[in-house]
């Protein structure tokens, strides 16, 4: 039986980090965009990122906003780079699957808004999980 030395549950400390004023602003924007509760996004962040990363989330979010890619409507809507590179809450594979399904839906002639909504639903599902 392996007993881990010196490891303790850090979720309380991590939660303190993601409730700072600057994080609140970012979380408010993310929560509104994806139609999710802040707590759900926080939980996913705490699970996926280490502490230095959590601290850096507001800066990284700004980088994404300043980038050229958000001008691409799909990136702006789904935030593929945002959720995999800038704030890695989802793995690239998961995101690719969502992106592919949305693209195929659009090419099949489904209206863009509907296809994006389906993509968003998939992302919501993954974040809640």
């Amino acid at each position: 039986m392996v007993e881990y030395l010196y490891e303790r549950d850090l979720s309380q400390m991590k939660y303190i980090i993601v409730t700072s004023p600057l994080h609140e602003t970012v979380l408010a924007e993310l929560a509104e965009h994806y139609g999710l509760g802040r707590q759900a996004i926080r939980r996913k962040m705490i699970e996926e990122c280490d502490m230095s990363f959590l601290e850096n989330i507001p800066a990284r979010y700004e980088v994404w906003k300043a980038e050229d890619s958000p001008r691409d409507p799909m990136e702006r809507q789904l935030g593929m780079r945002l959720l995999t590179v800038c704030i890695p809450m989802l793995s690239p594979e998961e995101m690719k699957a969502v992106e592919a399904s949305v693209r195929s839906q659009i090419s099949e002639g489904i209206p863009e808004a509907e296809a994006y909504e389906a993509g968003m639903e998939a992302i919501r599902e993954m974040i809640r999980r």
Partner: protein, 151 residues
């Protein structure tokens, strides 16, 4: 008092190993401890050697107002230091919490609640010379006749 004890006292007062630990300070006191290392103050001429290893330390310098992550770790650290040992609180933070001891903050001062403290050096931050003086005046008193006290 045996001659051996006299010898031990002399040696101990001329060889003090220091470990410093920051339990939630703003860094101000830490850099003043670092400044003691500078040739200007030349801490080593008094036989004080700073290296951050608790296993070799005689004196533990504590800065900061005790943040929650240290709850279990500071006591562990204190127990790692071999006897005879003494802890000195540097700055206002470990003494009272200084400006951080307000409603809503995460800190839990004073540090003397958590481990025994031998001396306190107030100041925000104290000058390097004050830190130096505290170590120099406390260490010989605490370490004198250590074996004698045990009997």
């Amino acid at each position: 008092m045996s001659r051996l004890q006299d010898l031990k006292n002399t040696v101990r007062s001329k060889s003090i190993h220091v470990c410093y630990v920051n339990v939630g300070s703003c860094n101000g006191c830490d850099i003043e401890i670092l400044a003691c290392l500078a040739p200007r103050y030349d801490i080593e001429q008094y036989g004080i050697y700073v290296h951050n290893n608790p296993r070799e330390a005689d004196v533990l310098l504590i800065t900061g107002a005790f943040s929650p992550q240290w709850e279990d770790k500071l006591m562990e650290l204190w127990e790692k230091i071999p006897e005879p040992k003494v802890a000195i609180a540097i700055g206002n933070c470990p003494i009272s919490g200084c400006v951080f001891n307000r409603e809503g903050s995460y800190v839990d001062p004073p540090v003397r609640k958590h481990i025994p403290i031998g001396a306190e050096v107030p100041g925000c931050p104290p000058r390097p010379t004050e830190i130096l003086q505290a170590v120099l005046s406390l260490a010989p008193v605490v370490f004198k006749d250590y074996e004698g006290g045990n009997e």
